[in-house]
């Protein structure tokens, strides 16, 4: 309950900050649209040479592009700003204030800030998905939508956990601002159906870096192609990575307290 109230306050203060920098808000919103365009253009380039990408048609692949854009916005909105602050605060020592608060430090460090311009990406992504589903002509039933909600939620958890784990390394390495780029590079593969990749890479993107569970699986859910294995995998990766990253966080806090000066 207190946590929900705090989330409300955090959102409010983030909105106020955003309003302080209106030009930035517009510029970033525009960037979001531009990047969605880049993703769509790349997909269109592939389909100008072939009518299938890993067995997916253009419209089906566009659902994946839409999901990719939504997660992009979600990262821009919540994950990245918090991680940026966290790394900054660890570097300049203001992180101490976080530890002094009588509240879960992981909550306070990862859900404190929001950059609301990320909402434009999410909106664009949603429009792309709805348009693509409309063109396909398959009407997702209630079970499909439920499956989509579940796998989508797990995808959010996977992204959050991976980024949290990377941010946690800031306790040991001084200058890790660019680790988000490392994640980006892998995440870039999520703009394509995982079946577009062959052999070992496809397996790696499914089981090692669970990119498949971020975009491909939720898209399959909308198309009514979900099976029990995929649901289990999705739940396993989502909950498992979350537990692992939270454990890493606790370990990092402990070693921060015993090592820093």
């Amino acid at each position: 309950m207190r946590y929900l109230r705090l989330m409300g306050l955090f959102l409010k203060s983030s909105l106020l900050v955003e309003l302080e920098y209106r030009v930035n808000f517009l510029a970033q919103g525009f960037l979001g649209v531009l990047y969605a365009g880049v993703s769509i253009a790349s997909i269109l380039l592939f389909f100008s040479q072939s009518n299938r990408l890993g067995g997916w048609t253009l419209d089906e692949a566009l659902i994946i592009v839409g999901l990719f854009t939504i997660f992009d916005g979600l990262m821009e909105c919540i994950v990245l700003p918090n991680i940026k602050r966290l790394v900054e605060n660890i570097r300049n020592g203001a992180f101490d204030f976080t530890l002094l608060k009588p509240i879960n430090s992981q909550f306070l460090s990862t859900l404190r800030y929001a950059r609301l311009h990320g909402l434009t990406d999410m909106a664009v992504g949603a429009v792309v998905i709805i348009t693509a589903v409309g063109r396909i002509g398959y009407r997702p039933n209630l079970a499909d939508l439920f499956g989509f909600g579940l796998t989508f939620g797990m995808a959010c958890l996977i992204i959050y956990s991976i980024q949290l784990a990377m941010a946690t390394t800031a306790f040991w390495f001084v200058k890790v601002d660019n680790f988000t780029e490392a994640f980006r590079a892998v995440y870039d593969t999520a703009r394509f159906p995982v079946s577009a990749f062959r052999g070992g890479l496809r397996i790696a993107l499914t089981f090692v870096a669970p990119i498949a569970f971020m975009t491909t699986v939720p898209a399959q859910a909308v198309l009514g192609r979900l099976d029990a294995g995929l649901v289990l995998g999705s739940l396993g990766f989502g909950l498992g990575l979350f537990a692992a990253s939270a454990a890493l966080w606790r370990y990092a806090i402990r070693s921060y307290s015993s090592a820093s000066s």
Binding site: L9, G93, F97, L100, P102, S260
Partner: protein, 333 residues
Amino acid sequence: MAPQISVEDLSKHYQVHEKDPGLAGSLRAFFARKYKTVKAVDRVTFNIDSGERVGFLGPNGAGKTTTLKVLSGLLYPTSGATRVMGFTPHKREAAYLRRFTLVMGQKQQLLWDLPAIETFLINQAIYEISKADFEATLKELDQLLELGPLLRKQVRKLSLGERMKCELAAALLHRPQVLFLDEPTIGLDVTMQVRIRDFVAEYNARYGATVILTSHYMADVTALCSRLIVIDKGRLLYDGDFKALIERMAPYKIIKLQLPHPLPEGRLAAFGEVQSSEGLNAVLRIPRARATETAARILSEIEVDDVTFEDPPVEDIIRDVFAGGLIPTEKTP
């Protein structure tokens, strides 16, 4: 009754990595880092009672901040025991975190882009302060610190002093019983330093809160603290009454003379050690026991326009302490 804060045999060691200068050095550091153990705090023991105002003195890197961080639970001690209000700080129990505050002059918790009141509201929710309590406390802090319009201005537009006032208010909203103040006046001008000092004294008087203060500015410590803990290189050098330290470390007085006309060289040396003599102004250092007698002799033997008696500046005394004038630690009652 057990003391509110007890520190027994506390040590905090940590490792730093070293790098040789130059290209080869950084290459070597790239592959194998060398580590060195630093004893930030080395077997320190002291007790502090509820409501005391204690000054921590020591040069940079003496271990003052490290001690405060251990007391506030940010650092695990390497060895030794600390108890504050019955809690073990490094367990960081919520009940403990709610009862003290740490203000760091060089770090800030206020949201940079928003008015301070927004941070206050968030702290209200985090510390679960009821609306009535929050408003009452805010009103009192407002009175004491004269926050007024500052609360509605973006923090980035405040001056350093104004920002510090808001930082203090943000740190005190939950009415902590123990205040750890680490360099709260750093970088502030003299007027603002006095304001902050007065506020801390007033807060201590009003709520009976315990205050531990570190500062580079001697005046902060002399004005606020009756008890002094001096540490250097992690070791406790002195713990006790402020006045006693001065008498022990400075067994002499300073006599300043203003002369109507110059005296022959060596004339003043007959009275005691001449610290400086420039034109018509002279400064003498006289052993405390002989100060009165010597003053009388001066007045009877030579012509003077003006005489003043002073204790030596506190800075000098402390410098003497650090320079090796180690005083055996005196246990406070």
